[in-house]
Symmetry: C2
C-alpha cells in the first residue's frame, strides 16, 4: 500500500459536511454512530452506512460496522478546515455584512463549501484574524490549531456569577430569543436558582433588569465562565481564584 498521500484530495460538499459532523460528535465526546451522524445530517441511516464505508475507503475515517466512525488524521484535517471556514464566514457575515447572529449559520453552511482559500484568507485579514465566531466558538487557525475550550455548561452550573462564553445552537428562533432577553457571548449574568426536577434556571443577565427563566434543555447549549464572584457576599461559592484560562483573547464586537 502506502499509495495514498497525494495531498489536495478534493472532496464534495457532501463529504465535507459528513466529516464536520463526525468531528462535532467526537468533540462532544460521543461515539460517531451511524444513527447519530444520520440525525445530525438529517439523512436516512442507510445513507450514512454507505457513506461511512466510502469515507473509510478514502482514508478519511476509520469505520467499524455496528460501532461507528473515527476521523483519521487526514479526515480531521479536512473537518477542521471546514470548521474554520464556517466560523470565519459567520464572523464575516456578522461583522461586515451586518447579519444577525441567528442568520449567519445557515448562510455559512453553504458558503463554507463554495469559497476559495483566497477568499478565506482575505476575510481573515479583513476581520483582523478573529479567534471567535459570533456564537463565541473558537475559530481554528490557518494551520488547523484549535484553542482549548474550558467552559462550563450552564445546565450544570451552580448558582453564582458567570459570563456567557458561547452558545452552541444554531436554531434561529432560539438565538433570536436569547438576544431578546439579553443573553449573548460576553454577557455577564448571575445564575440565581435552579428549580428542581429538571426545572428552569433563573438567570439575571447584567444587561436586562428582568430575570429570565430558561428551561434546563435550553441551558445545555449555553456555556459560561465563572467570574470572580460578585461582591463579598455570603457563603457557598465553590470557586478557585481563577487560575487557567490562558489564550482565547476576546475581541468581538
Amino acid at each position: 500500500m502506502a499509495a495514498e498521500s497525494q495531498r489536495k484530495a478534493t472532496v464534495s460538499s457532501t463529504v465535507e459536511d459528513y466529516l464536520k459532523v463526525v468531528l462535532k460528535i467526537e468533540d462532544m465526546k460521543q461515539r460517531a454512530s451511524t444513527s447519530r451522524v444520520a440525525r445530525h445530517l438529517e439523512v436516512a441511516d442507510a445513507t450514512v452506512t454507505d457513506m461511512l464505508r466510502k469515507l473509510k475507503k478514502a482514508g478519511l475515517l476509520e469505520y467499524k460496522p455496528y460501532y461507528g466512525a473515527t476521523l483519521t488524521r487526514e479526515g480531521r484535517r479536512m473537518a477542521v478546515r471546514i470548521l474554520r471556514r464556517h466560523r470565519l464566514l459567520e464572523m464575516f457575515l456578522h461583522q461586515v455584512l451586518g447579519y444577525g447572529w441567528e442568520q449567519v449559520h445557515q448562510e455559512a453552511e453553504r458558503l463554507e463549501h463554495a469559497v476559495s482559500d483566497l477568499f478565506i484568507s482575505r476575510i481573515d485579514a479583513l476581520l483582523d484574524f478573529p479567534s471567535q465566531d459570533p456564537h463565541g466558538e473558537a475559530i481554528p487557525d490557518a494551520r488547523g490549531f484549535r484553542q482549548v475550550e474550558d467552559d462550563l455548561c450552564l445546565a450544570e452550573a451552580e448558582p453564582g456569577s458567570y459570563s456567557v462564553r458561547k452558545v452552541t445552537n444554531s436554531d434561529p428562533e432560539f438565538l433570536a430569543y436569547l438576544d431578546r432577553v439579553g443573553l449573548r457571548p460576553a454577557t455577564r449574568l448571575s445564575l440565581q436558582e435552579k428549580a428542581p426536577f429538571q426545572g428552569p434556571l433563573k438567570l439575571l443577565p447584567e444587561s436586562g433588569r428582568e430575570p429570565v427563566y430558561l428551561g434546563l434543555e435550553a441551558c445545555r447549549s449555553i456555556f459560561v465562565l465563572p467570574r470572580k464572584d460578585r461582591p463579598p457576599a455570603s457563603a457557598s461559592a465553590p470557586d478557585g481564584p481563577a487560575s487557567r484560562e490562558a489564550g482565547t483573547r476576546g475581541s468581538r464586537k
Copy 2:
C-alpha cells in the same frame, strides 16, 4: 395547461449555468444551438440535448430539436438574476476583498449559486449599488432591468480616440496582460492603425507611453466608446492632463 406559475421554482446550480449560457449566446445575437451551448459549458453535446429537453419541460426555455433553445420569460428572469449575482459578486470581490480583475470571475462562478438573496442585497448596498462590474459590464438591477450597452467592438473600430468600455473575456492570463499594458475599463486610448489581413491593432493607451500591438482576435473582446476626438493638436500625443480613472480602486499585490 396553464399549470406552471408556482413562483420560487428552485433550480440546481447546473441549471443556472445552462440558463446563463443561453442568455449570453442570445445576447451575442447567435442561435443557442446544442453544440454552442456545449462548447460554452464544456460538456458533451449529448448532455446538452438532454438538458435542453428538461429545461423545456420545466418551462424555462423553448427547444426545437435540431435547432436550439430560446429562453422563456421565466428562464430569462432566472438567467438575469444569476448574471446580476455574478457581476455584483465580482465587484464585491474586487472592491472589498481586493481581488484582481483577473481573479474575480472564477470565484463568482461558484458563489453566484451559493449566496442568499440577503447576501446579495447586503453587498449591493455596501458597494453603493454599482452599475458595472470590474470588467465594465453592466450589472442588472434588482428588478432584472438591464442597461442598454451601446459600445463598439474594438476589432471593428476605425482609427481614432476611444475609451475602454468593457472587456468580455474571463481568461486570467489575458486580463493580467491587458492590465500590464494599461488597458482596463475607463482607460482612454487611441487606435492608431489596423494592420491589414487580420493583422494586429496599434493602440496607445493614455496611461502607458508605449504603443501596444494587439491581435485582432484579442480585440474582439474589448469594447470601446468613441470620444470627442482628441484636442485639435497635431499628429501625435493624444493625451489629457490625467483626469480619468474613477471607480475600480486597485489594491492587489
